[in-house]
Symmetry: C2
Subunit: 212 residues, 2 copies
């Protein structure tokens, strides 16, 4: 299914959550699934789920719902998980190494091919079959391998510099773990992963529960 109306950012964020749940069902050999039951399992409104799914698949049938494998396939192809996406990571500190070791990215067909750092002590080392290169090699490798996704796990004061280098290297999508606003040209997208925002929600809730 191609090119219905553009879907909202909120829907886009929910699709991977549905997908995860659907894949778990698949392991349990479930064959069919309805929006209503997905909504129930994930604690969401059923109309919302139905609308979200309708935006990426038109194979839903009244009374039956969706055939599980068809729905999974439609969501995956919408999200672009049907092509492997190569990525590089800059910053091989604790967080960078953890991401490098994380197996779960295969679920999203994301493959981190290499890491880069400016610390001579770790340049040249291998982590889980992946080599840590000097930051100087970033541009060359990205261009040669046509890498379009960059992950930033350096300290905040280095993040903009790294970001600029990524843009120069042809990267179009940046996953930023540094707590800072990055300036990029408009053809590049930045997704900020903000630990602070999540913690704020927990902290506020706790404050209300404990002191009120």
């Amino acid at each position: 299914m191609e090119n219905k109306k553009p879907i909202s950012l909120q829907t886009l964020k929910r699709l991977p959550i549905y997908l995860q749940y659907l894949k778990a069902l698949q392991r349990d050999s479930v064959k069919h699934i309805s929006s209503t039951s997905i909504a129930l399992a994930l604690g969401q409104n059923d109309v919302q789920v139905r609308k979200d799914l309708a935006s990426v698949s038109d194979r839903g049938k009244p009374k039956i719902g969706y055939v599980l494998i068809e729905l999974i396939s439609d969501i995956e192809s919408y999200l672009g998980y049907d092509n492997v996406q190569n990525a590089v990571i800059v910053g091989a500190g604790n967080l960078g190494r953890a991401l490098l070791c994380y197996h779960g990215f295969s679920n999203y067909n994301l493959d981190i091919v290499a890491a880069f750092d400016n610390n001579d002590d770790i340049i040249g080392k291998m982590i889980k079959n992946k080599q840590i290169f000097s930051i100087n090699k970033l541009k060359n490798l990205c261009e040669r391998m046509k890498i379009k996704i960059g992950i930033i796990t350096v300290p905040d004061y280095e993040a903009q510099k790294v970001c600029d280098l990524m843009v120069e290297s042809g990267i179009l999508a940046i996953w930023n773990f540094a707590p800072i606003n990055l300036n990029v040209p408009k053809e590049v997208i930045v997704q900020n992963e903000n630990i602070g925002s999540s913690l704020a929600i927990l902290s506020k809730h706790l404050k209300e529960k404990l002191y009120k």
Copy 2:
């Protein structure tokens, strides 16, 4: 400032981002700051910033803006960063260990006091001065230390079990890194950290840039 009208979830998520920026300014010895300049630096709408700040501080002055240290203090106290918050982490795999080593939590006055796992090979080891205990010790330690924040970094099929144990141990706020929907009583809050949602946004953008 206490108890104006309740602020929105969106505002709550943005406050830590402002705070981060304000602290960076502090290092540069800036003394005053306006909503307009924050908005400009962070690429946001100035009315939005003004409203967000007004919801936690009433010390803004026309023409001058805010005194930096006052604004920082108001945001921090609103977010509850003025008390140290102790947390435990369950699941000492790659991600769990990375979080355990992460220094940045001190910015949020969050202190991870211990990790728990069910793998005998790592139980008893120390990571950055923090011990990995058997999961069997979780309840006792949480009760004794009155720990209210739990971080889940176990595989998805173990997450609900761990969650139940946390709830039983008196934990009220759960930061969940497992890609699964957790069922909790209504007094407990769950904040899901969803890698898939972030990646979906990047992946979709890339698909549009590259294939259209």
